[in-house]
Point group: C3
Chain length 135, copies 3
Amino acid sequence: MREISVSTRRREELVDITSSVENAVGATGIPSGLCVIYCPHTTAAITINEGADPSVAEDMVSGLRRLIPQGWDFSHMEGNSDAHIKASLIGTSETVIVDDGRLVLGTWQRVFFCEFDGPRKRVFFVKVLGRADTG
Amino acid sequence: MREISVSTRRREELVDITSSVENAVGATGIPSGLCVIYCPHTTAAITINEGADPSVAEDMVSGLRRLIPQGWDFSHMEGNSDAHIKASLIGTSETVIVDDGRLVLGTWQRVFFCEFDGPRKRVFFVKVLGRADTG
Amino acid sequence: MREISVSTRRREELVDITSSVENAVGATGIPSGLCVIYCPHTTAAITINEGADPSVAEDMVSGLRRLIPQGWDFSHMEGNSDAHIKASLIGTSETVIVDDGRLVLGTWQRVFFCEFDGPRKRVFFVKVLGRADTG
């Protein structure tokens, strides 16, 4: 397992972490298997989406903000319940296939660390499990 | 890893891909492990939900459309930011347990390819990683 | 694969299942790998979020209820389409890294069984796949 740091600069932001994940996968030397990218925080998440046009990530942030406004009446006193809900909706981890020693992403796909209650110093984990399949 | 094609017929649609996934799992001959069903597109997703009554899939499509209308004011100029957001909410992949050489789904569960910006020719990947556990 | 029972007491509720999952992982004796927690129901889900303050789980339930009200006009006649949609948004499973024979959760993270159409007797599955990586 590899732990990688990421610093976020805004309350809500998507940070492209694809290169770090690819380096971590390459370093294992595992030719074929599964790679899990895991977020150990409860107000952040991991997603995979388009990275070519940065407006997609911006629309994701603004769309989620519109969906679950921070100002909704919540019980949790820290004022970040919206961030906890967004984290569970987007999800704590992503699993990507490893083939020929590389992450198998679609043409437009990038891996993003999703900050919903920043700016903060954060980390994420990368774990690769390998074994040949016959399929 | 196996790549499987799927053609969608509407802008938003859930296509039951369970049989294709089961065939891909059977072809590996792996008795016990994990199966990942992965979508390499950024305006489509994979989910697991009820397949017995087709109205559940219809309600999923209409509910998501009501949640994130295509007409919201977005920056991305392709007019499909709603589809990108839905893709990240539903998720790029599903992981299912393989036991006795078969996908372990619940009684009512089926695996669906979720199209949010069709109709299009699409693909998805199936990867099985196997190893006995003692649990 | 281990099957574990859980009884829910309300229509919508998050039940902390972390201890059961940790016990199941410990029982496998696998030092390093991936653990999948899987929900075989279509109106329930698995998530990972904050467990220290129970108001976070309450806000999750109330926030999701506000997002997708049970009273929306749906086709499915059982009156639980909201629960099916919530199940797909939150997700059928979670994947957690296993290291040194233990689940690697963040400081505030707990694993929750999410009931969206209870109260009911439910089950979930825990599967651990192990193999050393070099990363």
